[in-house]
Amino acid sequence: MMNRFNHLPTLKVDTAQKIAFIYKGKKYYGVKGDTVATALYANGIRIFARSLKYHRPRGLYSLDGECSNTCMEVDGIPNVRCENTLLKDGMVIKEQNVKGSAENDWMSFLDKLDWMMPAGFYYNVMHKPAKIWPIAMKQIRKAAGLGKISPDFEMPGKFDEIFLNTDVCVIGGGPAGMMAALGAAQKGLRVILMESRPWLGGFFEYRSSQYKEGETLHNRAGQLAKEVESFENIRVFTHTAAVGTYNNNLVTGFQIGKKDDVFNERYIEIRAKSVVVAAGCIERPLIFDNNERPGVMQINCALRMAKTYGLLPGKKAVFSIGHDLGLEAALELHDLGLAISCIADIREDGQDPVLLKKIQDKNILFLKGWVATKAHGRKLVKKVSLASVDGQVSKTFDCDLVVASAGMTPVTGHITVAQGTLKYDNHTGFFLPDQMPDKMHAAGRLLGLNDPLSIEASGMLAGLKAAFDCENCSIGEIGEAKKALENLPGPVRGTKLVTAPVKGRKSFICFDEDATIKNIKQAIEKGFDVPELIKRFTATGLGPGQGGIPGHNLPLYVAKYQALPDISIRPTNVRPPLVPTLISTYAGVNHKMFKITPMDEMQRKDGGIFRNIGVWQRARYFSNDLSCKKEIENVRSNVGMLDGSTLGKFRIYGPDALKALQRVFVSDMSRVKQGRIKYSAMCNDDGCMIDDGVVIKQGENDYYFTTSSGRAGQTAEWIRYHTRYDGWNFALVNLTDALGVINISGPNARKVLEKVVDIDISNEAFGYSEYKEFKISDTIPLRAMRLGFVGELSYELHVPSSYMKAVWLMLKEAGKEFNIQNFGVEAQNVLRMEKCHIILGQESEQRTNLLDVGLGFLWDRKKADAKTIGAVALHQAEKDQTRLKLVGFKMENNSRAPRDGALIVDDKVRGYIATARDSFSLNEAVGMALVEAPLSKIGTRLTIFEDECGDDRIYGKVVEMPFYDPEGKRMKM
């Protein structure tokens, strides 16, 4: 294990606390605060993975997870970004995308075959002849892709979610972000501050440069963080990456949990009145040959390795940089013991003279207008070639570390995802925000600022602008903050160089997809002249780094290669999530929210097998015999109980209640008589049936009606919508959950019920299609209906939900002598099918109208058309002979029932099976089908096609409906 510095004030590791982990089966130690990547690095691991296409060795590069170089398998989870993942005790880490090992990968020969794989080679090569493609595709997919996961892998860990509201959301916890948060918070606003690293401080946090006299940037970061944390109205979320920004300032992100948190990761959704984006800059990668060879890393990576994690990133280094940060890093690392052979600065001038003086004092070779052209070494960097920017002169230096960076580039994803636009700025060399989205403000380094005081002032200005959005700040105050910023140094001049003077065959613009400068040239030569097209043709920026590496280099290079007079082209679109995370994090806790009936617990105890049906969980079976033979036979010959509580139930009352009912039901609802039940249906404007149920008049201008279970949630809105212009005075109350429903059915139903109730329920006193209200035990109010959905003597009892258990137990007790049994939804389905009673959604679909299913008799044609929804369409449909008709059928030769949804065919599809079952009541297979009119004649032979039946067909014959008790005597007994 490498020695660590332990004296630096900027350190975020505790070298005294060791953490053990397993890498490739061997035990290693990191320290508290390490990421997986730094722990591996500390243990001498330099090659973390192999690249996607060419299997080139890859190592530490950005330390912020900007590319897939350090994606590894951690605790069985592939593609873990090791630079961003804190080391935990006992972690098991493996390489991925290697055949053999990352050190010695058998597939590395592919690197020599790059000439066979030019840009877009999939499109050009593998489909000629076309039959090659399926074979080639399989091989490519085997070779490519990062990580493997078993289909039955269960994600370990806890995933949570929170939904926050705030006045101001600040993205970025660096100096600008913290100042913005303070600015808004001082105005009394609620502020949320999101920082992707585990601590606040951003660009200041790890630097020892002077902030002002006697104070380092690191100290200043600490001061600001303390101040931020002292405000009760600022909520700080560290280790929280903002991954999406949407309309109306919705910001999404995910937070990595700390040791004591109840979550491993949690999804965060923030609704803000105003947003400040202070996401800072990343480095623009320097493009030269082998620019991704392990040992090449960015300035911040090298500097933070030492300052944050206490690790010297190499022994002997060459710097090829284009920003003063590179000079600062070289000096700091030199002081910490890194030998520096040379600093090559792309810039001819413009360097900070103080830094230059220090470099000179330390006798470090400094070359202005020079750049790295090639990193040498088969697996790791051994030396590097430098050349003058014009490529005329070159030198080579031995080294094990190349610190390379073309300069800075702003992190603008949060702005562009929210539909803000960017424009190239010639001074900074940045794509700067041009038009900001409404109530979103940019601050800090992403505006090109580099001076610490300017960065802070821009943060304060953005914070006040956000406060103004929340109507808590005056224009005058904003003017003052603006003036303060204008009096400070403005944006710094940036470097323009994109690539070193190289041909580019091994100069990578995108590490994730192994896309080189040569590939970009190939794409442009094929006519793909804008970044969006090139991105798709070369896959540049499509990898897990979300375009972090190619980012702004791609449009700059495209502009340069085509010698465009100005850089009018734009970076490619980035999309959420801006930082990759786990799908489990998006799934969150995933509470299952289902409704249960008051009988849920009782039915489970009775052996009910439950299924999710719409929003409800219902007992579908009461044994493992899914044909429900016993349940069905018990209802036909004895008595059964069904929990029908899911039925929609409504009260509608008021002077215009009847008018509303007339509007939505097809029947004449004025004929609903007290004490009687009226069955009717609702249609939509196309005459298609959307609901059915019964209506009861329970008083003057006061009705009670039921709807199908699936439709109950929409009924009230449906009625209100269709009466919205009438100004009628009526009220609706949804009583679906207020009342449970017990359906007691079978020839012995009356014998059971009469033991429980005190009223006369003989056929004479309580006949078919009648309705009664009474009390059980003088206490429990009941609404009882004589219905016959399952084709037997049946009572539907509507009971207050809290009393459902009591009534259910009474009926069970009363039914003991008859051996009363439960029956479930599937048994009910078969029973009603034998009776040819329809269920919407089963015997109908979106296009099925009232007439198609044979319920035209419900429609009162004398009602004025405009007053009944769907009536106009039904008038037209009556003359239409091309519509499907619902028919009953029996199977030929006593064969089995076809599957629901099977097709009726001849040389075309002529209809489909709605419901079909082997009927135990009839001892044959029967069903209902929707077929074209010519096939609906009694006796027509139906040819039935089922999934995967090949050339085999089964046959049925159209018969009269209903199949069971056609005279309806049993339900009226």
């Binding site: 509201n165 609620r190 806790v589 929210m593 409704k595 959950d737 809290s802």
Partner: protein
């Protein structure tokens, strides 16, 4: 004859220490291990009514003046009146010592059975809420009591915030009775990290008296 027992849609796993029988409801007054808060209290047995009228201004349910603006609420004499929209108000009888009956007038419907009703009271109440809903309880423009009609754990709810002040915070939530099991599970799960525990009605009675 066996005693008729009404069953609440809310079931807690905690052991009741003290119960009271009221209108066939077995009301738990205190649970074992209620902790220091926050608390989740089942109020599903408390009478609740729906009142609809095209001229609500003319109505004075239980002598209470109905708030004019939808979303506003008033708590008077143990009755919480929540203005839902132009024509509708929900009424919760929260005072266990003064149970009221539904007025015998046409616009009223008893909806006690329609919904579950719980109170979420004590410290960190809104930290629990933000794990389950995007509704903004801490909006400085909303003065308690106020009504939200919106999703809570993905389920349409009526939520009345009665107090927003620190440890005294509290709200009442109602939703379709059928969601009882899953709603309680999700609230208790969300509140686990904050020490949320089921509590008896006494805890709520004390809390509301201190409002």
């Amino acid at each position: 004859m066996k005693k008729l027992q009404r069953v609440s849609p809310v079931v807690f796993k905690s052991t009741p220490l003290k119960t009271e029988s009221r209108d066939n409801w077995e009301v738990v007054m205190e649970y074992n291990g209620e902790g220091d808060g926050p608390y989740l209290v089942d109020l599903s047995h408390r009478p609740r009514f729906d009142l609809q009228d095209s001229n609500l201004a003319a109505q004075k349910p239980f002598g209470i003046l109905i708030p004019e603006t939808p979303g506003d609420c008033v708590l008077e004499n143990g009755i919480l009146a929540n203005r839902m929209n132009r024509t509708q108000v929900s009424l919760f009888n929260l005072d266990a010592d003064d149970t009221v009956s539904m007025p015998d007038e046409p616009g009223y419907t008893e909806v006690t059975e329609s919904t579950l009703c719980v109170a979420l009271i004590g410290k960190n109440v809104f930290s629990i809420c933000e794990k389950l809903t995007a509704l903004d309880f801490m909006d400085q423009l909303r003065k308690a009591p106020f009504l939200f009609q919106g999703p809570f754990s993905h389920v349409p709810c009526q939520i009345v915030t009665l107090n927003k002040a620190g440890d005294k915070s509290g709200l009442i939530l109602t939703c379709s009775r059928g969601y009882g099991r899953d709603m309680i599970d999700s609230i208790l799960h969300a509140g686990e990290e904050f020490g949320l525990k089921p509590a008896g009605e006494s805890r709520f009675a004390k809390w509301i008296k201190e409002l």
